[in-house]
Amino acid sequence: MTTFAPEREASVRTSGWTEPYVHIDGVSKAFRMGQETSVAVSDVSLRIRHGEFVAFIGHSGCGKSTVLNMVAGVYPPSAGIVRVDGKPVTGPGPDRAMVFQSYSLLPWLTVEENVFEAVDAVLANQMPMRDKRARAERFLRMVGLWEHRRKRPAEISGGMRQRTAIARAFAVQPEVLLLDEPFGALDALTKGTLHDELLALWRSDGRRQTILMVTHDIDEAVYLADRVVVMTDGPAATIREVIPVPLSRPREKRAVMHDPRTLDIKERLLSLLQGSPAENAH
């Protein structure tokens, strides 16, 4: 961690941090579309510590998914660098498991095969086949899908598909979990259940994973995250403000809902998001 400038290091200490685990450092991303170049994300910097849950919130098209994809290594930043555990990100890898809004399960594999293939690929020679099978089973049981293990993605509901994707992500024991609007396509009730299942899975692993989640749902962001990163509207989106959510864990939905701090945070987030001219864009 010697690469940090000294004054930055100092500011890190004052905010009560140890070293950042995920370090997004001056990252920008421009996309070429034919002749034109459009800047999606401009100069985003963020330090995320190990085991922290950070939610990125903003209007659609504000580049929050772009940031996540750069942490995933789907594409490289145009400028700046992303480091995870001190090492620059050069491509996707199992230390940073992803969950997409579109589930991204392989439709020709069963629920069980989807999880098992990932476990088998990531832990190739690290454990015997029997243990890999057991691991896939354990995570499928944790999300309540063991009974449905022989079904294909097309045969189960959206909520169940996303549970499968979450089980697959946790089952490979990643250091970082990247959730790209994971609950965006689900109804409110399913969403609520999945929030708790996600927190339960995370807790059962000792909250070892560092989680980055992109969302446009304020309630979701406040309930799940330790910090909420509010993005400005694109093009050339950047971080507008970072709001801490100092609620203790484990969290319980009703308690969080009635906590006066929650209301303050939501108020703050709402004004930040409404204060932007995005409404006109739609």
Binding site: A72, V74, G91, P92, G93, P94, R96, A97, M98, F100, S102, S104, L106, P107, W108, L109, E117, A118, D120, A121, V122, A124, R152, A154, E155, R168, V172
Partner: protein, 297 residues
């Protein structure tokens, strides 16, 4: 089911979950059965109707334009005698069934060889832009070349390597390469980015990527290609056999024409069409089994 009085209750009221599931399954099966039976009757009706149109037009042609043309009835009589001796030799002349089998054997060899080349080549071309740029002109130039050109070329090339029969097989091989190759390439190159990312995130090996991601996605495309290739092969075999004068259903049709027995020719046409239809349906059934886009199998 009739004495099950709880049947009308809203689900979950009186029935346990398990029984409810069993009941739903039974209903689904009954519904599927009825639907299947009904659609079978309906499609048989359509087939009969289209057959009636063909026979009507045929009879009309015989009565008006061409009095030499064999009528449906006369053709049917000849066809029945041909079919009754389809798989025997009379005076050393093989029956129509044996002729058709000879053609199918040739197709089996040519088509299998072509699939064995076209599928891997299609995967490479679809997956690798450099290879695609390199081979696309070759494919586009060779694809429209007629089998009538391939056959004499093959005769020259295979003069000392089995001659005529190799040339027929080679013509089948070349002409049925392209649909499979092109469809496979399209299937491979249309793999959604999400699946590619998934394979990268979970560090799939090359082999696992091929077996679990790329090939399952491309399979329906490959089958469509094979189906089109099979159609082409069946078209081409008849032409090739007319040129080669070898045994086979195409030769049989040509030979019957030369002998002036047009009823036999028509019987050959019907056999060619029937086998073509059966092969096509076979591939269609296979396609339905692997088409994941449609959801549950």
């Amino acid at each position: 089911m009739m004495e099950d009085v709880t049947m009308h209750l809203p689900s979950g009221v009186a029935l346990g979950r398990r029984r409810e599931g069993a009941r739903d399954r039974l209903y689904a099966r009954l519904a599927r059965g009825t639907v299947a039976a009904r659609s079978a009757v309906r499609s048989a009706g359509w087939s009969l109707a289209s057959l009636a149109i063909v026979l009507g037009v045929w009879q009309l042609v015989c009565l008006t334009v061409s009095r030499d043309f064999p009528s449906p009835m006369a053709s049917l009589r000849v066809a029945l005698t041909l079919l009754s001796g389809a798989f025997v030799r009379v005076d050393g002349v093989p029956g129509i069934g044996l002729q058709a089998l000879a053609s199918m054997r040739r197709i089996a060899v040519g088509f299998s060889l072509s699939a064995a080349v076209a599928i891997p080549a299609g995967v490479l071309i679809g997956a690798n832009p450099t290879i695609r740029r390199l081979f696309d002109p070759i494919v586009q130039v060779l694809r429209p070349v007629s089998p009538l050109v391939w056959f004499p070329l093959a005769l020259v090339a295979f003069k000392n390597l089995g001659g005529v029969s190799s040339s027929t097989v080679f013509t089948i091989f070349v002409t049925s390469l392209w649909p499979t190759l092109i469809n496979t390439a399209v299937g491979v190159s249309s793999l959604p980015t999400d699946y590619r990312i998934v394979a990268k995130v979970f560090r799939f090996s090359r082999w696992r990527y091929l077996r679990r991601v790329l090939l399952p996605h491309a399979l329906p495309y490959v089958l469509t290609g094979l189906r089109l290739s099979m159609g082409t092969a069946w078209l081409v075999i008849v032409a090739a056999e007319m040129l080669s004068g070898d045994m086979g259903i195409g030769f049989f049709a040509w030979d019957s024409y030369n002998a002036g027995s047009y009823e036999k020719m028509i019987a050959a046409v019907v056999v060619i069409g029937g086998i073509g239809l059966a092969l096509d349906r076979g591939f269609d059934a296979l396609y339905r089994r692997v088409d994941h886009q449609g959801g549950s199998r």
